[in-house]
């Protein structure tokens, strides 16, 4: 069913939803960007539709909600570990089509990768519903069409904001009652059909061991290993786990997991001081191969969803998208 209403009118529904759900969406944090007087756009709790950043692409992805940067897994008391029991919260997340496809990748990584389900992710995920934000334009560096992630269907509501009005597509019956008496509108989410950039992903059968030793990766030694690409990626899921004892009481502490990045120093450090992939070019190879090769071998689809945030944020102007095209070219040369 489709509806149309003013933003104020929708905020009343937003308020009702807030009673049951924690509502997250991309939010502009004024002057909190990397450079002075620039903004940051990241996923935070929002309390009205005005707070939703609808126009711009966010710098960080919705994975922050389901897989927080830092997450306490256990409380430690002496020798005892006590699992954190999360309250039964329900989540509603505003996101775009690429990011909704990315949730699918997170599900695979956290729930279907090996035989163990990640409890922390699962608890949040099973109580989460999604509101799809229609993309009015394809942003700089987007290549969702190439990755088949420009479309999605597993959302509860779809929205478009235009001329101070909100257009709604309600797919989830749970929300039907909320809109009783609202003005009906024949609206369904439209999807981006073309991006400025096209990316061609290689066939995994064409990727041979020679590619791993190809000199093309040396060009990426200019990577400074900051990890912005990983931290903004909606599908990167690596983390590291640390036990911390509190300064105030050294018998108490927590086991905490924190995002990790395959580009940042120390990612592959092992006991005894062994460390792999010392040069950053090889880290680029490792990441790219996970996104379009290893993951695909395991789950049958590309991990990358073409949001282009890695290209948006790389301080060294390294283009991951161009790198994939280069890999595809190389595989053709070799074939």
């Amino acid at each position: 069913m489709g509806y149309k209403m003013g933003l104020k009118e929708f905020d009343k529904i937003f308020e009702i939803l807030s009673q049951d759900y924690e509502i997250y969406g991309p939010k502009t944090i004024e002057k909190a960007g990397r450079f002075s007087d620039t903004n940051n756009i990241r996923y935070e709790k929002i309390s009205s539709i005005e707070e939703l950043e609808y126009k711009e692409k966010s710098l960080f992805s919705p994975k922050d909600v389901l897989f927080p940067v830092n997450e306490t897994m256990f409380n430690i008391e002496g020798e005892k570990l006590k699992e954190i029991e999360e309250e039964d919260k329900k989540y509603l997340i505003f996101l775009r089509s690429c990011d909704l496809n990315a949730i699918d990748r997170l599900d695979n990584m956290f729930l279907k990768n090996g035989n163990i389900e990640d409890n922390y992710y699962k608890k949040k995920r099973q109580n989460t519903k999604f509101i799809l934000m229609e993309c009015i334009e394809s942003y700089l560096n987007c290549f969702c069409v190439s990755m088949n992630t420009n479309k999605a269907d597993n959302y509860s509501m779809g929205i478009k904001l235009a001329n101070d009005e909100i257009y709604l597509e309600i797919k989830d019956k749970e929300f039907d009652d909320l809109f009783k008496g609202c003005e009906k509108e024949n609206y369904t989410v439209k999807f981006i059909e073309e991006n400025q950039h096209k990316v061609e992903v290689p066939n995994i059968e064409d990727i041979k061991l020679e590619l791993f030793n190809d000199e093309m990766w040396e060009a990426y030694d200019r990577c400074i290993g900051c990890g912005r690409c990983n931290f903004s990626c909606p599908t990167c899921t690596c983390f590291t786990t640390t036990d911390i004892y509190y300064d105030e009481n050294k018998t108490k502490g927590e086991r905490r997991r924190t995002w990790a990045s395959c580009h940042v120093d120390g990612f592959s450090d092992m006991a005894g001081g062994h460390s792999f992939r010392q040069n950053t070019g090889s880290r680029m190879r490792y990441k790219v191969m996970h996104k379009i090769y290893n993951y695909k071998k395991r789950f049958g689809e590309n991990m990358c969803v073409g949001c282009g945030r890695c290209d948006d944020r790389c301080p060294e102007y390294i283009s991951y998208a161009k790198c994939i095209n280069l890999v595809t070219e190389k595989t053709r040369e070799e074939a």
């Binding site: 002057k31 450079f35 002075s36 960080f60 900051c226 990890g227 924190t258 120093d265």
Partner: protein, 318 residues
Amino acid sequence: MLDINTKKVMKNAYRITKRRGETALRVRTPGGEFPADIMPILTEIATQYGDGNLHITTRQGFEITGIKYEDMPIVNELVAPIIEKLQKHIGVKIDNPKDGYPAAGTRNISACIGNEICPYANYNTLEFAKKIEAAIYPHDLHFKVATTGCPNDCVKARMQDFGIIGMANVKYDQNYCVGCQACVKNCADRCTGALSMHKGKVIRNKELCVECGECVTRCPTQAWTRSSDKRFRLVIMGRTGKKDPRLAQEFATNIDMESIIKIIQNTYDFVEEYITPGKAKEHIGYIVDREGYHEFKKWALKDVKLPEETKIKPYMEW
């Protein structure tokens, strides 16, 4: 038979040069920024009335050299559109731009390129420079002011009577910190080593931190952010010259824009009270040295409403 009043010439922003009969005009470009369309005017003056050259001054203005003294009235008329654009337009009170620059003692306000372009700058130095220009020019007293975006101090704010250095006033949200140490390593390498790791998170030593904001530019998750209130470090009484050259010292930290402008304006009153009679170009720094820091401070802070977090140096040793 040239008969000119050199004092009037100099007040009009012309120089008495070593070449008999020739002067040079200093064009004020506050912040060192101007629309490119003033260039044809400079070209016209330089080629028709000067020696065809332009000199970029140390304070980021232009000096048009080789102008004949008798051509000053016509040059003044030609330069008027620049005065309209660069001074009147930003609120400087000048009655008749066609008479040329009404004063030259208070020098052009210099600025680094600032945060419109530079990743390190913590504020818009050009905008601030223009605000100061509007607040203190025209004035005959010899004041040098410059704005710089961060403690790198590219504009050499520490060589000015008033140097304004941007402070980032950083905030840290450890919930977003991944412990990558990018900020810690960079601070040790390029800044003051104010950051250290403790149990996977960052600790900042506020005594060492100079609020440059480099941690914010390095942080890949934006756990570090700048404060949205603009705050500055105000350094004062730096100087070059033959007598006791020295770097400007910190007068205030965490001070706001309005207070800085008021302090500079108040200092004009201080100088007018204490300047050696007949020595119109006496430098403020020497007057402060003679009258004492406390007397200067009393005048400078008159009616200034400082933000709560502002700290003023109780004593000063240059």
